[in-house]
């Protein structure tokens, strides 16, 4: 029983950065913008978040600075891809390269420093319930925030007028423009939201997951978040399934290796990817029978004034 609890706790921690970053990218892509710079925004968020927390001693301030750093990075992307109508794929890739270099520069001053990681919730009585207690009432704030965020995004996209307009921009920017909606401004907000989430996801790593900063510590999580968005067919609910499934299989395969069940580790390491792709593809086949990509995803829009 203790082992089950330990596994679930590890799964939640491993899935949270993916869920945070992917939720942001989902909103960005739903508005029709493909920002491949998630990894770059995340690592800059990690560097700034850690630096701020280390200097101030406050995890909350660290997380805030991670978010701001992510937004600033996304503004570079917005300037190029929206303002100057540069190719989005190239801009996003460049943003990742820039972010990896920039984070090393920012982080040079505090590589090897340590902080006290984000505290875990403790409610006397509730947290002490065996098994469910620590899982439901004993997480750090990021875990609850990520769930609240994805529920909020779902509500926004499907239950509000603004969400409908955002989706319209992603599906047909010409029509949205003809109806008088400021397509570029809406996309700018969506890109900034994506940047904020990526920055927060990055900050989660040094503030809660492994409480130190090392260049390159995101280790490809931004790319996984991008892939999750696609395989979840741009739907928040499926994103939750995908992110937790990916985290779960990642942790379970480590435990299976430790238990020595004798399946080659190379195969085990590929399992999270395989399982997530298979489940999400099956889900989207069963429900909609095809891709639901925003129709205008990745296309440049220049309003004819």
């Amino acid at each position: 029983m203790e082992l089950v609890e330990a596994i679930i706790l590890s799964v939640l921690a491993a899935s949270t950065p993916l869920l945070l970053a992917a939720t942001g990218e989902l909103v960005t892509e739903r508005s029709g913008v493909l920002n491949l710079g998630v990894e770059g925004m995340m690592i800059v968020g990690a560097a700034c978040g850690f630096g701020a927390a280390w200097l101030s001693g406050s995890i909350i301030f660290g997380a805030f600075c991670g978010v701001v750093a992510g937004i600033l990075m996304s503004l570079i992307f917005a300037l190029m891809a929206l303002g100057l109508a540069v190719n989005q794929v190239a801009t996003g890739l460049a943003l990742t390269i820039l972010g990896i270099g920039l984070s090393g520069l920012i982080g040079a001053g505090f590589v090897g420093e340590r902080i006290t990681p984000a505290p875990h919730l403790y409610i006397p009585g509730l947290t002490d319930i065996p098994l469910a207690g620590r899982i439901l009432f004993g997480e750090d704030a990021f875990v609850y925030l990520s769930i609240a965020l994805v529920v909020g995004v779902w509500w926004f996209l499907y239950r509000t007028r603004a969400g409908l307009i955002l989706r319209a921009c992603g599906d047909n920017h010409v029509s949205a423009h003809a109806l008088g909606y400021p397509v570029l401004r809406i996309r700018l907000y969506a890109v900034m939201f994506g940047g904020a989430c990526a920055g927060l996801a990055g900050a989660y790593l040094p503030l809660a997951y492994t409480p130190f900063f090392i260049p390159g510590m995101t280790a490809g999580r931004g790319w996984i978040a991008l892939a999750l968005t696609v395989f979840a067919s741009w739907r928040p609910a499926r994103l939750v399934v995908g992110a937790y499934l990916f985290g779960a299989v990642t942790i379970l395969q480590l435990h299976a290796q430790g238990a020595g069940i004798g399946i080659p580790s190379q195969f085990m390491s590929s399992l999270p990817y395989l399982a997530t792709i298979i489940v999400l593809v099956l889900l989207s086949r069963a429900r909609t029978g095809g891709s639901t990509a925003p129709a205008a995803l990745g296309t440049v829009f220049v309003p004819d004034r």
Binding site: E2, L3, A6, I7, S10, A14, P17, I100, G104, G107, A108, V111, G112, R114, L205, Y209, T210, P211, F212, I214, P215, G216, M217, A219, G220, R221, T250, I251, L254, H255, Q257, G258, A259, G260, G262, P264, S265, Q266, M268, S269
Partner: protein, 358 residues
């Protein structure tokens, strides 16, 4: 016309800059790094050695390094860039630079190359590496003494011979203390992923191991062990900062003496292509101070270290019994031959697991 003038001026400027460098008449030494210099592990140790080199011979040499160079075709470009910049001795510090280094070496026979941890050499390309398995044998003895559960947790990167021989050396050392010692092995299939390394450490501890050993590069596992009040060994560099109450010792890569020796040879014109596999005796690596252990364990570790350094003890002394119970052919006299260690692809008896993909 204006443009041509400008171009001419630019050329002149470039000429001046180059001329300035030539006038200094210093030997140019280049380095290619896999990670960022601040990775606190593998690349950081190479960078420390470069700094020591500059301190020692700074008046005669000029060094350059390129960091974050991916293994593969990109590396070839980076190495060639160093050649064109006038570097006469170039250190390429990761296994995956082997073929790119060889390619560039063939193209520029007058430049000397030093490749870390590979096995391909040429007239102008040396290789160098360290016998880390010696340190792992010592760690195995300490681990077996300190483990209450009798279960060691081992985080592996990739199942290549170097890592496999490290696991075997650990277990052979541990078995001299506790013949029934067990090991749980988790491969993360990465050299550097702090999150995954931490997850692997948590999984090992959750499954009953009380000692973490790692063959990956970040201090994440050390930190997990520290948080949980368990013990661990560092890797590549000093990691005690991340687990002040957890680190027992760490294998420290100390490349400085080798770098200084090779650059001196280059300066004296006596550089030759060689294969160097140094151990504790030539200080190719060192053990971090033995901490968080009682005096008798510390003494045992120091004695073993002294015996290995003096050549009186060998981690792979015969007979070495493989997992299937068969004795491994003893090609090196009273211990396994270097070639057998470099190409090790079997587990020794007592490891209750299989090498992945075998």
């Amino acid at each position: 016309m204006k443009r041509a003038l400008f171009a001419a001026a630019a050329l002149l400027m470039a000429g001046c800059i180059n001329g300035g460098a030539w006038a200094a008449d210093k030997l140019k030494v280049g380095f290619i790094y896999l990670g960022p210099v601040g990775d606190l592990g593998w690349t950081y140790q190479h960078e420390l050695a470069r700094q020591a080199l500059v301190k020692e011979l700074g008046d005669k040499i000029e060094t350059t390094f390129l960091e974050n160079v991916p293994e593969g075709p990109d590396a070839e470009r980076a190495i060639e860039q160093l050649v064109r910049a006038g570097n006469k001795l170039i250190f390429t510090t990761s296994f995956g630079y082997m073929d790119p280094t060889l390619k560039v070496a063939k193209k520029y026979p007058n430049v000397h190359f030093e490749h870390c941890s590979g096995y391909k050499r040429d007239k102008n390309m040396s290789t160098y590496s360290a016998r880390w398995y010696q340190g792992r044998y010592i760690q195995g003895q300490i681990a077996a003494k300190m483990s209450k559960a009798g279960v060691l947790g081992y985080i592996g990167s990739f199942p290549i011979p170097e890592v496999v021989s490290g696991i075997n050396a650990t277990m052979l050392g541990a078995q001299t203390v506790n013949p029934n010692i067990k090991v749980k092995i988790i491969w993360v299939n990465s050299w550097f992923d702090p999150g995954k390394e931490a997850d692997a450490a948590k999984a090992l501890l959750d499954q009953g191991a009380d000692m973490i050993m790692q063959h990956t590069d970040s201090p994440a596992a050390m930190q997990v062990a520290g948080e949980r009040g368990k013990l661990a060994f560092g890797q590549d560099s000093e990691m005690i900062k991340f687990g002040p109450k957890a680190q027992l010792t760490s294998i420290l890569d100390t490349w400085a003496p080798y770098y200084i020796e090779r650059v001196k040879a280059e300066l004296a014109g006596t550089w030759k292509s060689e294969d160097t596999w140094g151990g504790l005796d030539t200080k190719m690596f060192e053990m971090a101070p033995y901490t968080n252990m009682p005096d008798d364990v510390k003494k045992m570790a120091e004695d073993t270290q002294a015996a290995i350094t003096a050549g009186k003890s060998h981690p792979f002394k015969c007979p070495v019994v493989a997992q299937d119970g068969k004795e491994v052919e003893c090609k090196g006299g009273d211990h396994l031959q270097d070639g057998q260690i470099l190409g090790m692809n079997f587990y020794v008896k007592g490891i209750d697991d299989k090498i992945p993909g075998k």
